[in-house]
């Protein structure tokens, strides 16, 4: 009997051993994506990729997905919408990747949406805004915390109205993301009977914003909603500081991309004070979930070596969360069947390092987790200050709130 048990055990060990050797010999699971590594979106793209790479290393250290190693296939899309369709066609047809992650941002993502829908492919979206609203792809899942389309503008206008704002100025970059934001802001303003007293779009590559800010100031707005891209955000804030914005303004900001990146924040320093702007993750007490601290410990070490955003709050943890969701879906469905993974993602709530995530039918977050936070007490030339709480006080959403608005804008800047 003992001999039989021993033999059985030995055979079992041999079978398992062969099995794991077979698993180890299986080809890796390839996840393909383009990511802006050069151009205006590169700062964000690099930080996002580092977040995804940290997840890849963590999952591989645990034995991979379905016992197979995870490999990332990444191309630089140069922040350009014209590059991504060819890259994604190559990823699917030549590289034969198993899963697709979208590039960072709206502009490079929008042109690949018809392709993934036509091919019936799952696409994990990476911080784009409303790229699926017209395409209606049912295998799209955006990792960004935006939630319902109008919640972004609505939360900002809510805070502005509560501070006594009665009319609004809109200043937006002439590109897809900012225009989508502006569209929702106009809709919300219309529904609430808030007159739009200034509504201007500026072209990419605008060098100097002093003239535009003078015109905006002359319209005497109460609420100033700005949807800008990183190269412009700094120019706008500088011009506001020099030209002034008027004492009527109760709240300024809303949709300024760039004010989440360490280099821009450090460059602008005290010019940031008073601005209320959207954000995704901030080092406030309400923002820590399982694994958040461990992630940032790893990120902080690797960011220096990789020469990427040393803070990495905006995108990096969401890149990691994207991997966590894929991990949960693949392990639960025990397959790489994209329809099955999509069904799992749609029907479940997912625990991630940026909090619980659940998706609506359109693949956007069911509930908004977009933060509106006010910069306070920021000094010049000090990146480290942004690692402590209190520099960006969360005003919205209520369950993550860490303070109240200081208004008017000019008073909040002192």
């Amino acid at each position: 009997m003992k001999r039989r048990t021993f033999l059985g055990g030995a055979m079992a060990v041999a079978v398992v051993g062969q099995g794991s050797r077979a698993l180890a010999q299986q080809p890796p699971i390839k996840i393909g994506m383009s990511m802006p590594q050069t151009g205006g979106l590169a700062g964000g793209g690099k930080a996002s990729l580092l977040g995804i790479e940290i997840w890849r290393d963590d999952i591989n250290a645990k034995g991979g997905l379905l016992g197979r190693k995870v490999e990332l296939v990444v191309y630089d899309d140069k922040s350009s919408a014209s590059e991504t369709p060819a890259i994604y066609a190559k990823l699917v047809d030549v590289d034969k990747v198993d899963l697709l992650f979208a590039p960072y941002a709206t502009v490079p993502t929008a042109p690949i949406m018809p392709f993934v829908k036509q091919r019936g492919l799952l696409l994990m979206g990476n911080f784009s805004f409303q790229v699926n609203s017209k395409v209606g792809h049912d295998m799209w899942f955006n990792n960004a915390p935006w939630g319902p389309a109008d919640s972004w503008a609505a939360s900002f206008l809510d805070i502005g109205q509560k501070a006594g704002g009665k009319n609004m100025a809109l200043l937006t970059a002439d590109q897809e993301f900012a225009q989508n934001l502006a569209l929702t802001a106009r809709d919300v303003a219309k529904k609430r009977n808030i007159p739009v007293v200034f509504d201007q779009s500026y072209p990419p590559n605008t060098v100097e914003f002093a003239s535009i800010i003078r015109a905006l100031k002359a319209a005497k707005p109460d609420i100033v909603y700005v949807a800008s891209y990183p190269p412009d955000s700094a120019g706008i804030l500088r011009a506001v500081n020099e030209i002034g914005i008027g004492d009527d303004v109760k709240i300024f900001g809303g949709g300024m991309v760039g004010l989440q990146f360490a280099a821009v924040m450090s460059n602008l320093g005290s010019l940031l004070n008073g601005v209320v702007n959207y954000n995704t993750w901030l080092p406030e007490p309400s923002m820590y979930f399982d694994g958040t601290k461990e992630f940032f410990d790893k990120y902080t070490k690797r960011a220096v070596e990789a020469k990427v955003d040393p803070l990495g709050y905006y995108l990096a943890p969401f890149g990691y969360a994207m991997g966590q969701m894929i991990d949960a879906a693949v392990n639960s469905t025990k397959s790489l069947d994209q329809k099955g993974i999509a069904k799992y993602l749609r029907e479940n709530e997912h625990k991630t390092i940026v909090g619980p995530i659940a998706f609506s039918a359109d693949g956007e977050r069911k509930e908004t987790a977009t933060l509106q936070a006010q910069f306070r007490g920021v000094k010049d030339k000090d990146i480290e200050q942004f690692r402590s709480s209190g520099k960006q006080v969360i005003l919205f959403p209520d369950k993550l709130k860490t303070g109240n608005l200081i208004s008017p804008f000019e008073a909040a800047r002192k």
Partner: protein, 288 residues
Amino acid sequence: MDLLLGAVVLGVLLGCFYAAVSVGLSVSFGLLDVPHVAHPAFLVLASYGVYQLNESYDIDPLLAGLALTPLFFLFGLLAYRVYYETFEKRGSDAGVRGIAFFFGIAFIIEVLIILQFGVDQRSVSATYIGKAWRFGEFRIPIRQLVAFAVALALTVLLAVYLSKTFMGRAIRAVAQDEEALRLMGANPVRIKQFAFGIATAVLGIAGALLIIVAPVEPTLDRAYIGRTFCVVVMAGLGSISGTLIAAIILGVAESIVLTLFGASWAPAISFAMLLGVLAVRPQGLLGR
């Protein structure tokens, strides 16, 4: 009325800044006929040099720009010599291949900047950045006034140098008739090389103005290719004073459109003006 007046004032300041970033191209492309599409990349490279000096040694951006001019002069001499030996010397299709050469240089500069500084925006600090002079309700950004004054001085100095000094006249002569100069015993290639060095040296200061006016990032050169060539062509090839006038016209037009008619129209208006000038005066405003 106040808005219009303000737009004109800010436009003049912006125009002088455009003149400063274009005046080197007016020499290299306008006078020497070199298809220098890497001009804005050299400009951005200078800005990063200024950033490094400002960040590491706290040197004022303008002084840093001045300190970079000899280095850029040598860089210009080298770049022209490589261009001449590889393309210009070989004859007729040098122009087209020269464009590819300078595009290549621009791309290499971009990549080198990314490798060294990363892709994030960089800016400098100085006491005059971020503040404004008040005239009643009207405010003028001091960084724009600094850029205006330096740009004006730079353009006037270059114009005086080219018209009053022996070397300056030689540069103009080589632009007019290279063969005649050769018959007089001068070496046109050396003169052109020297002129290209001057055109590149000027970028030290212009690069400083660029990063004083706004933060820079590695691919910013692409935003300036259109503007700088527009100014130089509208001015009339090789005309330094024309460059100043064309740049001011462009700056004022942009500023008025940004202030009064809607920012989206600004680039369209600028290029419509260029087409208008070329339709009426194909040789440009002050071209011969």
